[in-house]
Amino acid sequence: MAEKKTLWHELTKGFVSENPVLRLVLGTCPTLAISTSVTGSLGMGLSATLVLIGSNFVVSLLRKLIPDKVRIPAYVIIIASFVSIVQMLVKAFAPAIDQQLGIFLPLIVVNCIILGRAEAFAGKNSVLASTIDGIGMGIGFTGAIVLIALIREFFGAGSVAGLQILPESIPPMIIFILPPGGFFVYGILMALANRLAERKDLPPAELQSCEHCPMSVACGGRFVDQADNEKEVKEA
């Protein structure tokens, strides 16, 4: 029973309390770029989820075989392989989505959610828990990006998933589907998420500088110190 409960927690934590986009502030680039249309966002979310589940599964399967020192390159290769598979699948079965996602489809490889989860979770936990974590985080990512897209597409084009909702006589606020709208809607939603978190006594969303950044291994946290007190690093 206890086991079941923790697995349920691994699945649901990605939905709201540890939502990768709104709480952990990971994967911001595709979120902002793709969220101009709901269908594209759904495609992006599903592709990233597939990669996330696959990479979490394989990484945790191999976690005892991969030497600690070369784990980041190893993770990157695993992720890149899954991205290539997803790329071929999308190109073959959903060419319209492939057109919409453009270079952001191969760029899933550098999406920090995936490498972040491999480093923070899959490299340390069992295969089952990691797979479930991948599913939960994927759903959280898809949910957040589709939510942003719903707002942007509704206000910016007057439609939802391509269906015209607002009558033609009401001109849409195009700024919402232009780049500034992306930053704006994301900022407002994050403020709302912070407000909700505050009620549950959780800290507000901050850029997870080291804990969740996979590259902190390479820089050893030097970077944040450097930003905060530059002089010390220079002396060292």
């Binding site: 502030v25 911001t28 680039c29 595709p30 902002l32 770029a33 390159p73 990157v76 290769i77 890149a80 392989s81 991205v83 290539s84 790329q87 071929m88 453009g102 270079i103 191969p106 760029l107 490889v109 550098v110 999406n111 920090c112 490498l115 700024i175 232009l178 780049p179 500034p180 709208g181 992306g182 930053f183 704006f184 994301y186 900022g187 407002i188 994050m190 403020a191 912070n194 407000r195 507000p204 969303a205 901050e206 850029l207 500088s209 996979p214 590259m215 390479a218 820089c219 030097r222 970077f223 450097q226 930003a227 530059e230 690093v233 220079k234």
Partner: protein, 196 residues
Amino acid sequence: MKVFMALIFTGILTENFVLAKFLGICPFLGVSRKLNTAMGMSAAVIFVMVLSTAVTYPINQHLLIKYELEYLQTIVFILIIAALVQLVEIVLKKYIKALYNSLGIYLPLITTNCAVLGVVFLNLDKSLTYSQSLVNSLGAGLGFMLAMFMFAGVRERMESCKVPKFLEGLPITLISAALVSVSFLGFGGIVENIFK
């Protein structure tokens, strides 16, 4: 020559990498708190962008396309960029100490920066020639630098401002990024008209 100028100005103004294409948002939000760090990061990004374009382009042309291995592009490119960044770091550390001190700490962060891999894919997408790709990467890097420079200035001013409580922290940062991005909308069409 005209083509090159157009590419550079497109990269800096109309198709700014950060504010219009949404590539490299993580460093844009994370490293723009101080002007010095923002400039160091941008210089390192420009350097790595041009270098990785210089290396990946010939490999793509003469190896992947020649032997019909295009489906390996994603894996090959990310590996090349990662190895390249490591190599540059080692070389700088050993031989050019001054440059290492100013750029070195940023280099490991750049490997998984989507702006670098993004520019490589964009060059392929636009099917540019070798020299055009290099110039395009330079323009994209300069655009990144301009966005970082402007935004670092905005954020330094914001430190001393009174922000509504519910917007404190990242939300106000994102909203000010939206305002900076609005200013870049004004450049729309400028490059096409000048370099036609």
